[in-house]
């Protein structure tokens, strides 16, 4: 019995593994959007990882629409990602629609060679007339969205460049003078169709902007484009062209005066305003941070809201907090309640102009409640010895020489009034000592290098030895001088002097006067 169950488990496992190894087929119907009425437009069916070859296609009956499969065409593309191969076959279609509006295409059935079938998803496509302005090689148009605003209200300048072929190198228009850009220019690429169903490339540039001053702001210009023409690789040249951009106008109306709040600072909605405490419960004597966050545009115009705090709560303004983006601002206060209890920080509101309804509104924060719990305290009694009778009372004058007002304080000295000597920075001795250490070492090193002791003067030693009658020393000095003898006269003088010294030392003769020899030798080193 147990063995039978094991066989069943193995069989089920193998079946599951086999099924999981079969690639999941996918069929997608791709059609132009929109379709141009009465124009035969190309589309295709993309079949991915089909288990077998498609042998037949059954198209549903669609009123006002014809779908044909051309005799030629089709594509096969195989990609390998992480060792897994994916094959996609493209089956070309030619679609002709005749009824304007939204057309529903039921699933299309594909019959495969192995007898199985695949179906596309149902699809809704629009059938519209093509853009009648698209003619020639290029077309450019600009528009403000919305075409009329109030100062500070955001708007967009949308500029579309349509190209039958080719490309553009520069943009033919710019936002009008006086416009305040609210972000980076955005560029998008897409497709469009002319009235004959011809496909055009569209480059859409969008500038988010606003204007601060009422008036009319006009945008116009000319758009350059270029097309590569020629028959082959070596016969390609660039043909340049230019099309005018139809003028467009943004009307900036002044803000209405009716219903304008006195504290209106020019903020344009929408605006969000929140208030929060960093802690809902504190002890007496502690502080808590109140944060009010305003999210909207131009919040830089806003001043810190005035707080209407209950009595006994002191507010200390702090620097603005770090906001997540430029469209929000965080005002902060340190609140210090002086007594325990419930402290309600009332709601605060900020006026703004709502461009959608064209009326002034107020963004209001919610009231927040802070619970202050009493801290543990202990009464302290300070006792002091009673002064004996007749003792003078303590000096409590309020002069600078003896300030008053502090209980239990000793006698304070007089103020210095700025006459005290200023000490050096505690680090200065170390810095100066280190600098002098380096300077001393440097000087000692320089002295070692530059002021070397001169070599011994052998000629002078010879002269001194002869002057004191020390003949052995004179003989030695003369011997050490021999390497320095360079001229014939020096060598002759040295030889004569050497012989005279020998005669005096060993021959018993008096030393001949060596003056004329020494003239030659005494300056040698």
């Amino acid at each position: 019995m147990v063995i039978a169950w094991q066989r069943w488990a193995w069989a089920v496992t193998l079946v599951v593994l086999a099924l999981s190894a079969i690639p999941a087929a996918e069929v997608v119907l791709n059609l132009p959007d929109p379709l141009i009425p009465n124009v035969q437009m190309p589309g295709d069916i993309q079949v991915t990882d089909a288990p077998s070859t498609v042998v037949n296609i059954t198209f549903p009956s669609i009123p006002g629409m014809t779908i044909d499969v051309p005799d030629e065409g089709g594509s096969v593309q195989t990609t390998v990602v992480n060792g897994k191969a994916t094959t996609t076959r493209g089956i070309p279609l030619l679609v002709t629609a005749r009824v304007l509006g939204l057309n529903h295409i039921p699933p299309i059935t594909l019959h495969l060679k192995d007898g199985s079938i695949l179906q596309t998803q149902a699809l809704d496509v629009r059938v519209e007339h093509g853009n009648p302005n698209l003619a020639g090689e290029a077309y450019a148009e600009a528009a403000f969205q919305p075409p009329a605003i109030v100062p500070g209200e955001p708007a967009k300048l949308v500029y579309r460049i349509y190209l039958k072929r080719g490309n553009v190198e520069s943009v033919g228009i710019e936002p009008p003078a006086g416009a305040i850009l609210l972000g980076e220019r955005q560029v998008a690429r897409g497709r469009s169709y002319d009235k004959d169903g011809g496909q055009w490339a569209v480059i859409t540039l969008t500038w988010p902007l606003t204007i601060a001053t009422p008036g009319e702001y006009r945008v116009e210009g000319q758009q350059d484009f270029h097309i590569a023409v020629g028959d082959g690789f070596f016969d390609t040249r660039v043909q340049r062209g230019r099309v005018p951009v139809a003028p467009t106008v943004l009307l900036v109306k002044p803000l209405p005066t009716e219903g304008r709040p006195d504290d209106f600072t020019g903020l344009i909605g929408p605006l969000a305003f929140t208030a929060e405490l960093d802690r809902p419960h504190i002890s007496t004597g502690e502080g808590v941070e109140l944060r009010m966050t305003v999210a909207g545009r131009q919040v830089d115009l806003l001043k810190a809201p005035a707080l209407a705090l209950p009595a006994g709560v002191q507010a200390y303004p702090k620097d603005d907090g770090k906001s997540a983006d430029r469209n929000s601002r965080i005002f902060r206060w340190d609140l210090v309640p002086s007594a325990a209890g419930e402290v309600v920080i009332p709601a605060v509101s900020i006026p703004y102009f709502d461009p959608e309804t064209r009326i002034y509104r107020r963004a209001e924060s919610k009231a927040v409640t802070l619970t202050v719990v009493p801290g543990r305290t202990r009464e302290l009694t300070i006792t002091a010895p009673v002064p004996p009778p007749g003792t003078a009372p303590p000096d409590t004058s309020a002069s600078p020489a003896q300030p008053a007002g502090m209980p239990h304080q000793g006698r304070l000295a007089a103020p210095l009034r700025g006459i005290a000597k200023q000490p050096p920075s505690p680090h200065l001795p170390l810095l100066v000592g280190g600098a002098c250490l380096a300077a001393g070492g440097l000087l000692a090193g320089l002295r070692l290098l530059l002021l070397r002791r001169p070599a011994a003067n052998r000629g002078l030693a010879l002269t001194r030895a002869l002057a004191v009658g020390d003949l052995p020393a004179a003989s030695l000095a003369l011997a050490s001088l021999r390497p320095a003898l360079t001229t014939a006269s020096e060598q002759a003088a040295a030889k004569a002097l050497d012989e005279a010294i020998d005669r005096a030392r060993f021959g018993g003769q008096a030393l001949t006067d060596p003056t004329h020899w020494l003239r030659e030798l005494e300056n040698l080193r």
């Binding site: 960093d278 802690r279 419960h281 504190i282 002890s283 004597g285 502690e286 502080g287 808590v288 941070e289 200390y316 340190d334 210090v336 801290g375 543990r376 202990r378 004058s397 309020a398 002069s399 600078p400 300030p403 008053a404 007002g405 502090m406 239990h408 304080q409 000793g410 006698r411 304070l412 000295a413 103020p415 210095l416 009034r417 700025g418 006459i419 005290a420 000597k421 200023q422 000490p423 050096p424 505690p426 680090h427 200065l428 001795p429 170390l430 100066v432 000592g433 280190g434 600098a435 002098c436 250490l437 380096a438 300077a439 001393g440 070492g441 440097l442 000087l443 000692a444 002295r447 070692l448």
Partner: protein, 247 residues
């Protein structure tokens, strides 16, 4: 030129720089070098006028403004005395501790703190006693300059060991005063400026802390709007950031 003269020559530039610094920072006594800077910052010259007329609270803001502007120790000291006279013990202790940190060798801030019943624990300058006198203030700069020159020169000209030994002796003479001032200036004192509660890590009150309590800051970074401090009895507690002033 003898080696000793060369070593003295090495010390001359450093001594000249130290002298210039001394002149710039108002070494010369008998004048009030604070007044020009006060005028520059648009504050009235008679800072002590209201105080001398019995209204120290009116002088306090002016003196505090001057102290923050000049950051001189005597300006902080005077502001501390004015705060004490005005009855603001927390501010008084805070200013006096700042004055002590700016000039640890000066006895006036320590004496004033004692008079306010907030004595500083024994400072390194006090511990050094007479040993710290040679190295205190500008004398320490001069002695370290001489010592540095002699040691530097003697270390290279090792045959002149005498220079090295004399330099080391001079450095030893100045070291207690110099390092005592350095240690005292780096103690992270903080002052409780409002009556508040010491809190534990859960935010529960541990004990009351009256204004003027002296504490040591344990961590530079605040935690949940509170500062971690160590009381003088060794207990580590948290104090609301708005209630403690660091120096």
């Amino acid at each position: 030129m003898t080696d000793f003269k060369m070593a003295a020559l090495a010390a001359l530039p450093a001594l000249a720089v130290a002298f210039l610094l001394a002149m710039v920072t108002g070494l010369s006594a008998g004048t009030d070098p604070l007044e020009p800077s006060v005028h520059e910052h648009g504050l009235p010259a008679d800072l002590y006028g209201p105080w001398s007329q019995g209204r120290p609270a009116e002088s306090l803001d002016l003196l505090l403004g001057r102290a923050k502007t000049t950051d001189r120790w005597d300006a902080w000291y005077d502001a501390g005395l004015a705060a004490a006279a005005a009855g603001d013990k927390g501010q008084a202790v805070s200013c006096l501790v700042t004055a002590h940190r700016r000039n640890p060798a000066a006895a006036e801030p320590r004496d004033a703190l004692r008079a306010l019943d907030v004595p500083l624990p024994a400072t390194w300058v006090e511990r050094a006693g007479p040993l710290g006198i040679p190295g205190s203030g500008w004398a320490g700069v001069v002695l370290f300059a001489v010592a540095g020159s002699l040691i530097g020169f003697g270390a290279i000209r090792w045959r002149r060991k005498g220079l090295f030994i004399v330099g080391a002796g001079v450095a030893l003479l100045a070291a207690p005063g110099v390092f005592a001032a350095l240690r005292d200036a780096e103690v992270p004192w903080a002052t409780v400026v409002h009556d508040t509660q010491a809190l534990d890590s859960t935010g529960a009150p541990v004990r009351p802390l009256p204004a003027g309590t002296l504490v040591r800051q344990e961590q530079a970074e605040p935690w949940a709007g509170r500062t971690v401090v160590r009381l003088l009895d060794g207990q580590v507690v948290l104090v609301a950031q708005a209630d403690a002033e660091t120096h």
